[in-house]
Amino acid sequence: MRLYSRRDALKLSLAGAGVIGSVTAARALVEITVTGGDFEPLPIAVPAFSSLDPVLGEDVRRVVTDNLRRSGLFIPLDPSTYPVQRGDVNVTPEFAGWRNITADALVMGQVEREGNLIRANIRLWDVIAGQQVFGQTYATDQSNWRRIAHIVSDAIYSSLTGEGGYFDSRVVYVAESGPKANRTKRLAMMDSDGANVRYLTDGRALVLTPRYSPNNQMLSYMSYVEGNPQVYLLNIGTGVQQRIGQFGTMTFAPRFSPDGQRLAFSVESAGNTNLYLMGLGGGQPAQLTNSAAIDTAPSFSPDGSRIAFESDRGGSQQIYVMGSGGGGAQRISFGDGSYSTPVWSPIGDLIAFTKQYDGQFHIGTMRPDGSNERVLVSSYHNEGPTWAPNGRVLMFFRDLGGNDGPRLHSVDVWGRNEQVINTETFASDPTWSALLG
């Protein structure tokens, strides 16, 4: 696996702009292939955004800077060294001064309130080539100024890395409080950077494993509200919760199909757990697996044609892939230990998983055919990966055990840049939305 190096990325964006001379110059620069710790984040300068509301300008600039830093692919440079303190989107920068402070890229911004909107004019400059990478205007509703910062961050990230963005997205997770033997669990929603937390359920019923629908409007999750656990749907906008039906003794481990029209989940009956697929328009679910084993944690390929799931049919938990109509399951995990919670990347190239081996819990990835297994993080307990919309960052939860509780962490697919996402309660079972768009 290879990440666009900073030089590559700049070269690519330049090639897109058709600046032949600069492409040649960029080729002469060192190319860096990411194979671990030898990647050098790209130094970027983000001077103050001009604005009639300097507080708003600084708020947006700060969130953009924090996002870029947190991605691990950028190093925002210290503003006190900048040759110009306040950016001007209408002026071509004096590149020599920015090169002097070793900035490879430069963001100039202007943010203004306009009626009910916040509008941001942004120019991204390639300092080395002395060329504009893009100049764009973005607008969002005034009620959520952070979104404009996330949208701008995505534009910068995307144009310099060649990957999709992921900042303008949300994460739903299970907020945990109370003693470990009797935890209260609520569904909570936050921005991808941990801001704007709100609680979606009140904690009276135990809720687990929320999963976002592809259009970000629904969640499916498991609740003990009516005694035996069942799969529910929650309309995030209206707050209406609805059980999908009553099948077997209990239903659990839901996951939406990529078209949002169907739900795969486990049905347990007399100790036996099989996978089912149900149209959300109604009707009876179709049985996908029929074994005496535990078949659970289904996850669709992005084209909807296949389902990855975990099963202990071979004696220990392993990952299998089958057609989304059921049948023909092939085991794909063959390393040491047991494997569970497979989650297909939204861009299709990898399946993330939880692995138990040697007394530890690991988060890793493998290709859909099971090759190229890679462990990204290891500790006493890591579990439940979920993909960022660009398929380049994973979030999961880590529990140090004892009376402590779980926390959300993120790591990129290269195993770099592990981060804690600060939440006001213990947190587990994250599910990452698609881009809000």
């Binding site: 470990k180 003794t249 347990e268 975990e310 919670t341 439940g384 055990g401």
Partner: protein, 163 residues
């Protein structure tokens, strides 16, 4: 401030006394030792008898839902007791330890509950009296980072109800 502090201090003292009395009462019960109660000292057919002389739970090996010889012995006694007192219904609660992932543990705890249900039915307990519920790793009884806790949490508990 000081005028409100006065009664609150008195209240605190009273609470302390009450608490002491309560602890003393507990201590006395404990001294008698619930485990030392002979037959007849617990009223027959009560929940207390079920808990004390029969045992309400059985334990499992890691990732297993097989009933050990010890578990079968306990469940055999449960079945005899339940057959003697048909007024009780039971719910079998299946549990898993924390050393597994969420979905698998839910399924595993359902399988454990089911193994207990099947055993009780095989010993003559009417299946209509028995329900089950799977808790996965959500309700541990022991909290620590080693096998001493995990082994207590891998359990199925027979909860009496519906007298």
């Amino acid at each position: 401030m000081s005028s409100t502090a006065q009664p609150s201090a008195i209240l605190k003292a009273m609470l302390m006394v009450a608490l002491l009395a309560f602890t003393a009462a507990c201590a006395r019960t404990k001294d008698a030792g619930v485990g030392n109660l002979g037959p007849g000292q617990v009223a027959p057919g009560t929940q207390q008898e079920f808990l004390v002389t029969i045992g309400d739970r059985v334990f499992f090996e890691t990732d297993s839902s097989s009933l050990t010889a010890e578990a079968q012995a306990t469940l055999g006694k449960q079945a005899v007791w339940l057959n003697r007192y048909p007024q009780y219904s039971v719910q079998i609660e299946g549990h898993a330890d924390e050393r597994g992932t969420r979905e698998y543990n839910i399924a595993l705890s359902a399988r454990r509950a089911s193994a207990v249900v099947n055993f009780l039915v095989s010993q003559g307990v009417a299946s209509q009296r028995i329900s089950s519920k799977a808790y996965g790793k959500e309700r541990p009884v022991a909290v620590c980072n080693d096998i001493s806790c995990w082994s207590q949490n891998r359990r199925a508990v027979t909860v009496l109800g519906g007298r």
